[in-house]
């Protein structure tokens, strides 16, 4: 006798411990197996793109902080790069180096949260999460040193950065860079080869290479699927062509690969930080830029390899003090495109870790 079963729907989110914000998934389940996923977005929509059209180019920098609040420095960088492209502003050498240092520190900080939250989703009861926050705290201390803020930095400016780093910053950075590889080894010792983690994450939520490219996924999600694509190498911005680093890639595009790629990227970031620290020149940190920037009529697209993927700002100028159009290419929104294909056929427990392995930030998805 065949038992007749009926699919039923559960809402994961918008209030749920592991939706990383206010994301909502409408899961249709057959028992524990997911047969359909419908992501529902927009609970955190603040209309940043429209708001930005009413503010000057400099006033918009704090808005970018509030996109992916776990990677504010990277957002700053992507935006000022776009404005600089639009206005043709030169950037002093020292500022470029400091920007790279901040962006790489931010990448480590963001990946720490991403990996920690992923392991938390696997059910590791907060321990790895808090271990990783211990190091993130050190990075936040560094950021506090340079700009007084711990979450929304507002540090970069068109044509440079807001202020030079204080004297004690470089020794502190040096200390951190020397410590960090040891900490990354510690994370690996804790869980990388854990049998349960392997069982949970290996082969789960596979994003095939072709699908990753077709959905224009980017960042660690794309690289875990085996595509060697990193904007720092593919279309070098700032001064990334002066540094030596590798692009870690995964083989299968499963959750475990995405986790490993992030860990490897942290190691590469430390490598970049070391080189940047050694090469850091003296000099100005900000070129002479008027208070009200009026870029010539035109459009520009500035993109960087943000921790979560390709972050792009598309700006259109009508020669006024505010952008005519301000568009954000948010990496995590686009990485979510393949969510359904990754989740179908897996169980509820897997849905959570697949979602966690994409490492999204809702403030950026909904903006």
């Amino acid at each position: 006798m065949a038992i007749k079963t009926e699919p039923f729907v559960i809402n994961i989110g918008p209030q749920h411990p592991s939706t990383h914000g206010v994301f909502r998934m409408r899961l249709t389940l057959d028992g524990e197996v997911i047969i359909d996923v419908e992501p529902i977005l927009g609970y955190l929509h603040r209309g940043i793109e429209k708001l930005a059209e009413g503010r000057t180019y400099t006033q918009n920098i704090p808005f970018t902080d509030r996109l992916d609040y776990l990677a504010s420095m990277s957002n700053n960088l992507a935006y000022v790069l776009a404005v600089e492209k639009l206005a043709g502003t030169p950037v002093p050498e020292r500022a470029e180096y400091l920007r790279v240092i901040m962006a790489e520190l931010q990448r480590i900080a963001s990946h720490l949260v991403g990996v920690g939250a992923f392991l938390n989703d696997c059910g590791a009861f907060m321990t790895p999460f808090l271990y990783m926050f211990r190091e993130r705290e050190k990075i936040l201390d560094l950021f506090e040193m340079v700009c007084g803020q711990r979450l929304t930095y507002n540090y970069m400016r068109v044509g440079g950065i807001s202020q030079d780093v204080p004297e004690e910053f470089l020794p502190a950075l040096k200390k951190f860079v020397l410590q960090m590889p040891g900490f990354i080894d510690e994370y690996d010792q804790l869980l990388a080869e854990n049998e349960i983690l392997l069982a949970r994450a290996k082969g789960v939520g596979i994003l095939p290479r072709e699908l990753a490219i077709n959905t224009s996924a980017s960042g660690p999600v794309l690289r875990a699927s085996g595509v060697k694509w990193d904007i720092r190498k593919a279309d070098p911005y700032s001064i990334y062509d002066r540094f030596e680093f590798d692009i870690p890639t995964g083989n299968f595009g499963d959750c475990y690969d995405r986790y490993r790629v992030r860990i490897q990227e942290m190691r590469q970031s430390v490598r970049i930080l070391k080189q940047a620290m050694e090469q850091l020149p003296q000099g100005e940190v900000r070129s002479d830029v008027p208070h009200l920037i009026r870029p010539p009529v035109g459009e520009a697209y500035g993109h960087i390899e943000a921790p979560k993927g390709e972050l792009g700002f598309y700006l259109v100028s009508d020669n006024s003090i505010a952008p005519y159009r301000f568009h954000i290419r948010a990496p995590t929104l686009i990485n979510l495109t393949a969510l359904r294909d990754m989740m179908i056929g897996w169980k509820v427990a897997d849905a959570i870790i697949i979602f966690g392995s994409i490492d999204i930030c809702l403030a950026e998805v909904d903006r």
């Binding site: 749920h16 524990e32 590791a124 907060m126 049998e195 349960i196 069982a199």
Partner: protein, 374 residues
């Protein structure tokens, strides 16, 4: 039939003073031990909650609660007061009676386990000659309460959590019971007190594999990480008690810790030699061992990720069950063939067998996979 063993000790020395055929002795014993058990369980749970929160704080490179009282010792009291003054909510479309009854059905059996746990030689509420069988039977009744909670809440998360619990409890009951039988075979008795008395060397040495299986299975039965699927916070919110608040939630919280305490006490009794130990008084030995087992349980909790529901089942049926059967078989042979053998030979033999079996199983048993084509 006398269900209590009136040997002289800290707990029931009063029996000495009474005339042996006084009928009130039974009721005095009963009443006294009910009070002792309630006080013991509640005090230990308070202590456990504090110990676990502080301990996990240390594991997680933070301090843990340290504001209320010295070292945060009064934190459980503060928690209890907070939870008691919360509003008691019953879901509008829930099954009111089932929802109301569930915490009670879950709590009472968890407490009843302690009736047969010997705190000291003969110091137990009822020295049943089938003590361990009683434990096995009673401890699975709690599951009914949990399923009632899941059903009565009329909440999908609760229902998923409850269904997971039933599946889990049914699966893990079997290896757990089989591993207990190994102990019973060696001790030659089902009575908890007799089992402790039989342990001139702790049975963890004679039954290392049995201990591992019991420990893992018991962790699964009481839903501790890595088997806390029924209340997997990152997946199904709070599982079966999602819709509970106030005192009823507190009862479920108590159930969880009572069960942990019960498992610690049973592991202590079955494998660690119960109240036996040199120098210190027996009650203290019992407490030390219980706390040590509890420490092990929350150490695992703060270290290991959670496994998935199908992997959980596969682990029970494909890994624990065969191992438990093999363990039982080997123990049976040892009891029959080598009754007079030196204990050290058996200890090393069993350790070697355990190592071989675990290596073998880890070679050809793999968790993982699990995608279903839809």
């Amino acid at each position: 039939m006398s269900i209590f063993n009136p040997s002289l000790n800290l707990f029931n020395c009063y029996l000495e003073a009474l005339p042996p055929d006084w009928p009130g002795g039974f009721w005095l014993h009963l009443g006294l031990f009910v009070v002792i058990i309630l006080a013991f369980v509640l005090a230990m749970i308070m202590g456990f909650i504090w110990f676990e929160r502080r301990g996990i704080g240390r594991f997680q490179v933070r301090l843990g609660p340290n504001r209320v009282g010295p070292f945060g010792l009064l934190q459980p009291v503060a928690d209890a007061i907070k939870i008691l003054i919360k509003e008691d909510i019953i879901p509008a479309k829930g099954d009111k009676w089932v929802h109301w009854l569930a915490p009670v059905v879950a709590f009472v059996p968890a407490l009843m386990i302690f009736a047969v746990v010997p705190f000291q030689d003969g110091a137990l509420l009822a020295d049943l000659n089938i003590g361990i069988l009683y434990v096995v039977a009673i401890s699975s009744v709690s599951v009914v309460g949990i399923f009632m909670a899941g059903w009565g809440s009329n909440n999908k998360f609760s229902l998923i959590g409850a269904m997971r619990t039933v599946a889990q409890a049914v699966s893990y009951e079997i290896p757990v019971v089989l591993s207990i039988i190994g102990v019973v075979l060696i001790a030659g008795s089902l009575s908890m007190n007799e089992i402790v008395k039989a342990q001139s060397i702790p049975f963890i040495l004679l039954q290392p594999l049995g201990f591992l299986i019991y420990f893992i299975g018991a962790c699964a039965e009481i839903n501790r990480t890595p088997f806390d699927l029924l209340e997997a916070e990152s997946e199904i919110v709070a599982g079966y008690h999602t819709e509970y608040s106030g005192m009823k939630f507190a009862l479920f919280y108590l159930v969880e810790y009572t069960e942990v305490l019960a498992v610690s006490a049973i592991i202590t009794t079955l494998f660690l030699g119960g109240w036996r130990g040199p120098v210190l008084p027996p009650v203290l030995w019992f407490l030390i061992k219980v706390v040590a087992v509890f420490f092990l349980i929350f150490w695992v909790r703060s270290t290991i990720p959670r496994i998935r529901v199908d992997q959980l089942m596969a682990f029970a049926w494909k890994c624990l069950l065969p191992l438990a059967l093999i363990n039982l078989f080997i123990t049976g042979i040892e009891v029959v063939v080598l009754p007079e053998a030196l204990p050290w030979t058996i200890i090393f033999l069993n350790l070697a067998i355990m190592a071989v079996l675990i290596v073998l199983w880890s070679k050809f048993f793999r968790l993982g996979g699990g995608r279903v084509e839809v």
